[in-house]
Subunit: 194 residues, 2 copies
Amino acid sequence: MDKCRQNIVVLEPSKIIYEGIYASISKSEYNYSFYHVDSLIELETILIKKDITIVLINPSLIQNKIKEFIKIQKQYSKIRWIGIIYSLFDNSTTKLFDNLFMLTDDVTRIAKIITKACSKISTLDKNDEQLSEREIIVLKHLAKGLSNKIIADKLNLSVHTINTHRKNIMDKTGIRSLAGLTIYAVSIGIISLD
Amino acid sequence: MDKCRQNIVVLEPSKIIYEGIYASISKSEYNYSFYHVDSLIELETILIKKDITIVLINPSLIQNKIKEFIKIQKQYSKIRWIGIIYSLFDNSTTKLFDNLFMLTDDVTRIAKIITKACSKISTLDKNDEQLSEREIIVLKHLAKGLSNKIIADKLNLSVHTINTHRKNIMDKTGIRSLAGLTIYAVSIGIISLD
DNA sequence: CAAATCATCACTAGTTTTAGTGATAAATAC
DNA sequence: GTATTTATCACTAAAACTAGTGATGATTTG
């Protein structure tokens, strides 16, 4: 039964989950090619190289890059964007996707969603409080427990600059404690548990 | 290098994740057999039938059945219990496990955890420098971002006491930054989203 | 029972962070 | 082509944390 080849990219930090999706979906009778990436940049690279039709996305990976993501969406308007939901808590960016599935969904349902992969155009919702690139870097170091001074040394900046970034991060996120920022950093996937 | 066959049960609602773990781990040179179950009852059934050595568990599936779970653990004392963590906000029954991995962890790390669990009796240094009850409470508050002073107020203690606990926690864990302690707190499951 | 650990409190001195305000050049956006 | 955002640097005062040392009573453990 079969159509032209479908190229599917999975943007997802967990190799386990990628492998699981691959194993589950590629069993179907359709003709899919799978690619695994774990950053927006990698995604862009592959979008240029390959003729991708479907992108499965873990929303946490675009949490701070909504603008870039929307840009990419506009640029590749034919692509269907499908969100991979870990659990019920992450409600935030779901509006950006054409469709969603949960990891706990039945495999046949997920397969159906992917094969369908049709429907509406996504609506944009701007999050004007996203962290800048520099702020992300500083946050990463903060969450590793480095002091302002050490971060300054590492980045060849003055402590004042780090201080400013730190303040801006706190203002943007509304999180006023280092502990909270650390958890935030881990939760959006910019540092790992180790 | 190859030992006897290891029978691994994965207690996990998501087929995707089971498939992912299976695909990732069964590539290693060890000799594994995998079984997928998605309820405690099914787990018990298979424990009776097969000689299981390792159980990978999604903690959410035992959340309301801790007692039953502990009973099973006692009954099958040779088994290594490994938690599968979706995100940091998962509910914290994590202390029940011999080891944990996050879905976003590197596959080689996960494989290592599992192979370790096969070979060693106890991979965890649980008893080395265990925190006291009081220290756990203080750590919990610290990881929520509360200052010494506020914690002191909450617990009706002096700031000095909190300070002492804090120092002792740092000495015991060897972690000297608040960010590190926060991650530690999350990783051992003593704080959650609230 | 004796030894070890725990929970509590105290003081000091030095370091770091927080919370303001303010500024400038460069890049981006509308 | 102006307005906004970003990245950078600066200063200050107050608050908080770090790293020592030391002590006492209670509880647990062998």
